[in-house]
């Protein structure tokens, strides 16, 4: 397996995962805004913060109105993580490894990119938005499903899954960070706490599983516990870390990456995340993100083309 090829597979998966996550984020926020009274609404600003491009956004925009924010999140060329940009990157990466990925997967990524590009006006309207975003999320699932069912489960595939898990863990921490900060700010919002935490779970496709695992009430501390510490929910950070370790273990020289993953896991499990206050939570999540970045650097150093 060529070093360049595993690097490309890794990024291809990360970008598809990112496109899906942003689409889900927009979708859930969109539904949440309909439930909240005007004064309480947090609008689109937190979503721009989650993806980490506040500065980029403010270069070309004065406020966070729905249309501008949506355009920025979904199709803007100025936002490196817009769904369209992510899919473009996924497609360019897929193109350079077209010889190793199954044809159906290439066609899936290619058609999804074309869909997102050609139907962008649809995605910006209130009415067409839901269908547009659902299509993106479903197609991403199809792509990963087709990969699982049709590609050789060799080392290349391990790197691909690894990339997707790392991206997922990263996005989960971002959502928790920004959402918890913006939620607690106002006393007025109290009655709406519950539905806002539900929406956090929904943006992580975690609502149903949370209920099964944590019981009926949706509470801040339980959501944090579930999203950070669950070993069974596939978008929980700990789950992702454990999977990443399993994936990398059989690969040559992985002894040099595993300590970084273990360290991140230890830091995560030792903390009592239920008790973390807002400021502490932010700091804690920062640490997790630094650990995730370290894991990426280790993998790149060890396996990617130099």
């Amino acid at each position: 397996m060529l070093s360049r090829v595993v690097e490309t597979l890794y990024w291809m998966a990360r970008y598809v995962e990112r496109a899906e996550n942003v689409a889900r984020l927009v979708n859930v926020n969109n539904l949440l805004l309909m439930d909240l009274p005007k004064g309480v609404s947090t609008g689109w600003e937190p979503i721009i913060d989650i993806i980490g491009y506040r500065e980029e956004y403010l270069k070309t925009h004065k406020d966070f109105n729905e249309r501008s924010a949506l355009r920025f999140l979904l199709v803007s060329g100025n936002n490196p993580s817009s769904t369209l940009n992510s899919l473009w990157m996924a497609r360019e990466n897929a193109r350079t490894v077209r010889d190793v990925i199954p044809r159906a997967v290439w066609e899936g990524i290619n058609s999804l990119y074309l869909y997102v590009k050609e139907n962008q006006n649809e995605g910006l309207t209130k009415r067409g938005r839901f269908k547009y975003l659902e299509h993106i999320i479903e197609s991403a699932h199809l792509i990963f499903g087709a990969l699982d069912a049709t590609i050789n489960h060799d080392h290349g595939y391990r790197f691909l899954q690894f990339g997707s898990l790392l991206e997922r863990a990263d996005m989960t921490t971002r959502i928790l960070d920004v959402r918890s900060a913006s939620l607690i700010e106002s006393e007025v919002s109290r009655p709406f706490d519950n539905i806002q935490w539900i929406s956090v779970l929904r943006s992580l496709s975690a609502y149903q599983m949370y209920r099964q695992q944590m019981g009926v009430r949706v509470k801040r501390e339980d959501v944090l516990e579930f999203m950070l510490h669950s070993e069974v929910f596939p978008r929980a950070v700990l789950f992702c870390l454990q999977q990443m370790q399993n994936l990398i273990s059989p690969i040559v020289n992985s002894k040099q990456v595993i300590p970084a993953i273990e360290e991140a896991g230890k830091m995560l499990t030792q903390a009592n995340v239920r008790k973390l206050k807002n400021g502490e939570l932010h700091k804690f999540i920062d640490e997790i993100q630094i650990d995730l970045a370290k894991i990426h650097t280790q993998v790149a150093e060890l396996y990617f083309l130099k």
């Binding site: 397996m1 060529l2 070093s3 360049r4 090829v5 595993v6 360019e92 193109r95 350079t96 490894v97 077209r98 010889d99 190793v100 044809r103 290439w106 066609e107 290619n110 058609s111 074309l114 080392h155 690969i251 040559v252 396996y303 083309l305």
Partner: protein, 484 residues
Amino acid sequence: MSIDWKKYKNSPFYDELIQPSGEARRHSQQLAGFLASLNDEELSTARAAAELAIKEMGITFTVYGEGSTIDRAWPIDIVPRVIAKKEWDFVEAGLKQRVEALNLFINDLYHDQKIIKDGIFPAELLAKSVNFRPQCVGVSPPKGIWAHICGSDLVRDDKGTIYVLEDNLRVPSGVSYMIENRSVMKRVFPELFENNDILPVHDYPSQLFDMLAAMSPRPDDAPEVVVLTPGIYNSAYFEHCYLAQEMGCELVEGRDLVVNDDDCVYMKTIYGLKRVDVIYRRIDDLFLDPEAFNPESTLGVAGLIRAWKKGNVALVNAPGAGVADDKVVYSYVPEIIKYYLDEEIKLPNVPTYKCMDKADRQYVIEHIDELVVKPANESGGYGLLIGPKSTKKEQQECIKRIKADPRNYIAQPTLSLSTVPTLVDSHVEGRHVDLRPFILSAGDNTQVTTGGLTRVALVKGSLVVNSSQGGGSKDTWIVDGEDE
């Protein structure tokens, strides 16, 4: 309203499907009948289905200088071109003869140069050849094969004779489109394939792999075969991927390879270095190895030529094979065949004027408005002058270029290329076509694709079929059955 072949006008050209009377030729009767049975809506649905298939399958090509659009959908016309098997057998034999002789010629040029010593091929032509590589003199590639893969362009004139227009011996492209066109047509007109004996084209990648594997310097092991691409910005990147995928071998870029102190080539994998035996390279000679050729090249691999000369790796096509891919050398092919094989040429050349020859040059300058002038070493239709379609100013500029460097130009009469009915809106009109079959040479075994890539000039009256300049393509059928 549907297609009415009686109203189809093809004269004065030879049409591949329809006779001047409006009757279909025998080998295309079923096709013509089927097409005529479709109404407007069915035709446009079929066309839309083909376009959609191409877009979704991501069949693309690249046009240089288009800014950020680095790939474009491949244009295909849904009316196929049909050739009777009996005629194709003759063409196939002619192509094999040609490539066999060309390989002997190249090998001779890099060794004893007997053909020059015997006064058949002029020494000054070789001296001025831009594709002759002095670095390759004395090298003996496996089985004496230099041009393992050849793409020859064929055209048919108004009398129905098939000529060879040129031979591409460097890195000919197009074969993946030949195969993909067939896949698209099967999606669009499945019923046609049930009722016709259309010979399949899908075995090319396995034939290619067998040929490549046979060139391995370590014949006992399972050879490591790779396809070397310049990367996604190359116009034929789609094809590089496609062939690597179909053959199940690695697609590599120059930066994936390294030549070690033992003069062997290795690829960089996550497990460390892995030895490479055969490289199907899709990079031009001069960019292959900064040590041996262009020192500025970042596409190639330093030391590659060293490894090749030692026999530690096979390069396909061999560096220097392009010496015979030259429109001036082309004009000597009949003599080359006679010299090495002692046979008469089977598939004729288009009559060719060599501008280096004084009498020929004078003729070309006087008749420039009737001729097609071609530079010896440009591909893709760049730098071409089509006399009857050019302005006086263009002609004068061309004459200037010829006088400055006569060795670099040849001229040929403007051929009345044959036509094939092509869908224009919801009716058909004749459009000019050529045909590029591919010939694989493994030494003991030479194979020709079943048909080839039919390129069509989509603009009315145009003779330029290159996809980079507004050309399209058609599926090409070789059908078994009686000839006319």
